[in-house]
Amino acid sequence: MDIFVQQLINGLTLGAVYAVVALGYTMVYGIIQLINFAHGEVVMIGAMVAFTVINLLAAGGLPPLAVVLIGAACAIPVCMLVSYTVERLAYRPLRRAPRLAPLITAIGVSIILQHLAMLVWSRNVLAFPQIIPLKTFHFLGATVTGVQLTILGICAAIMCGLAALVYRTRLGRAMRATAQNPQVAGLMGVDINRVIASTFVIGAALAAVAGVMVGTYYGVAQYTMGSILGLKAFAAAVLGGIGNVPGAMVGGLLLGVVEALGAGYIGDITDLCRYGPLARAIGERCADGGHFVLFGSNYQDVFAFVVLILVLVFRPSGLLGERVGDRA
């Protein structure tokens, strides 16, 4: 039971980060039906910029929270600028092109960003300086760290803020209108280019925050961290129903929990020695409490992809999404 609660908390923390990244995917997809492949790299750039700043300030004697906040404050504008530039130069000219064209461009942009980051920061892993005192809380037999609580709190705040932005503001209304029908929205006086650019920029700001959070959580940042994180977040967005803002939040949290519980339990479940007849068949390796584990926790990264494939095959619209008619 302790392990269950512990994995649940770990999963929720990571899931909250996935959710924030997934928001960036889902907003862009909702408006221009583009899988912004480069979004994961924006998260990475956010983490790298923040880590550079944090490492510079670490020795300065400022309170740790202020250091991290300054790091994030530097990362956000950088990510916004990167994302705006990419949208302006690489995606906007292709807005009327067949669907696969911008997707291929996005893959190219992602490679370029990743390797530009390598040029700037080299292959080395940036470590998070030991400035945050390790505070732990005990909850139902599980241990929660202060960092985890902070991440959960920030993610909750971001999600509420974004929901308010999309459903309560003028820009949000313009975004929803553009998502429904860009031509008509344009006729109604919505500046579509501005709305789409704002969507990218808002997503990039969220990505920067997510990058800082995930970097702080793991304690490291590297130029390769973006692609797998981006893919998982995309899986989360699809799970919740791509294009759907609450869906991305639900999908992210759910995917984080599935991954944590899956990694925590798959080793036990697929230990063939637990099953009487099979254990006898295997014989000596099961004797004396031995194990014959088919799939261990090293398959953790598979879960996101399996979830992604299952959702797309059985419910392409996701948990909260509307049915997508066009399947050509």
């Binding site: 291929i104 893959i107 893919l231």
Partner: protein, 359 residues
């Protein structure tokens, strides 16, 4: 039954040109080995990439299905070869038995991936295939336990080279005073395989299946209305593309003598996509051009830029590997922006991309 290649109405000049190209290609390793045996190996890799790009072209170019996990089939072919011809299991089957098995297993994987996912819309399919490629790689990395099948990240070494009777393709021979190295022999084998694959591709494109693929790519609904079994046709594209990948993988394993999951990462898939896109999706000659360009140019840069940097700055500022990857990324972006049909566009694809919306 039509002849393999239509000879009628082709001027003599064309045949002379083809013969000249053939002689040049056959003589190429002698020229390259004067520069260094490394370049023969690079040429071998380039031909392997041509094979991969041609295989992927069936899926992406002919049938219009973006596959971002194509390298998984390459990996399957390579591991089938490695498992059946290495000391790891003590099996040493001859290559002409293993290569068909590898192709068949890869095709089976293609069907396994395609069957549940082919009804998905293009961009979703791309992501699912990407996930599939990663899943295969993660399995290769971890299938060393509980039973050691793939040896995990260590990879499989001492893979048998191709042997045809007494002829061993990995050793250096001396024929009539001319030194013929292992890579050179492999080069000619690869060249022969490439010619066969090109012929198959040319014939496929103009066949009933090829036209069905084109129809599905242009408008799936209309194709179905015309009586094409779209699912079967798309599955066939996946399976055929995959089997070419499997054959290329088997040859890769034998040439290298060592494989590990490191060789089959996502970036490799994207590289092959970049070759197809740069050359011109759906145009066989364009795809070959793309594969050759993206195999050779980075290598040439590697040998020119590094000394240049050393001379200019006294140290290596930009690693050649980074230049290579930036080149791939730029190729994808710039081609899509300025020449969406590729360097050598296929005539149909050009029309399609010129239109406002494909469907």
């Amino acid at each position: 039954m039509k002849p393999l290649i239509d000879v009628r109405g082709r001027p003599l000049l064309l045949w002379i040109g083809i013969a000249a190209i053939a002689v040049a290609l056959i003589a190429l390793p002698f020229v390259l080995s004067m520069v260094g045996t490394t370049w023969v190996r690079i040429a071998n890799l380039a031909v392997l990439y041509v094979l991969l790009a041609l295989g992927l072209n069936i899926v992406v170019g002919f049938a219009g299905l973006l596959d971002l996990g194509y390298i998984a089939f390459y990996a399957v072919g390579a591991y089938v070869y490695a498992l059946l011809a290495s000391p790891h299991f003590g099996l040493h089957l001859p290559f002409w038995i293993i290569l068909p098995i590898g192709a068949a297993v890869a095709a089976l994987f293609g069907v396994l991936l395609g069957a549940p996912t082919l009804k998905l819309r293009g961009d979703y399919l791309a992501i699912v295939t990407l996930g599939f490629g990663e899943i295969v790689r993660i399995f290769l990395n971890n299938l060393s336990q509980p039973v050691n099948i793939t040896r995990g990240p260590q990879g499989i070494a001492q893979i048998d080279p191709f042997r045809i009777g007494p002829l061993d393709l990995s050793t250096t021979d001396r024929v009539l005073g001319v030194v013929i190295s292992g890579p050179m022999k492999y080069y000619w084998l690869l060249l022969a395989v490439m010619v066969v694959v090109i012929l198959i591709n040319v014939r496929l494109q103009n066949s009933r299946i090829g036209r069905a693929w084109e129809a599905v790519r242009e408008d799936e609904t209309a194709a179905r209305a015309m009586g094409i079994d779209t699912t079967a046709v798309k599955l066939l594209a996946f399976a055929m593309g995959a089997s070419f990948g499997g054959i290329a993988g088997g040859m890769f394993a034998s040439i290298q003598g060592f494989i590990s999951p490191e060789s089959f990462v996502l970036v490799e898939s994207i590289m092959v996509v970049a070759m197809v896109v740069l050359g011109g999706m759906g145009n066989i000659w364009g795809v070959i051009l793309g594969a050759v360009l993206l195999s050779f140019v980075p290598e040439i840069l590697r040998w020119t830029v590094a000394p240049f940097q050393n001379a200019l700055f006294g140290k290596q500022l930009v690693e050649p590997e980074v230049i290579r990857m930036l080149l791939f990324g730029l190729a994808l972006v710039l081609v899509m922006l300025f020449r969406p049909a590729g360097l050598l566009p296929s005539s149909v694809r050009q029309r399609e991309l010129a239109g406002e919306e494909a469907r």
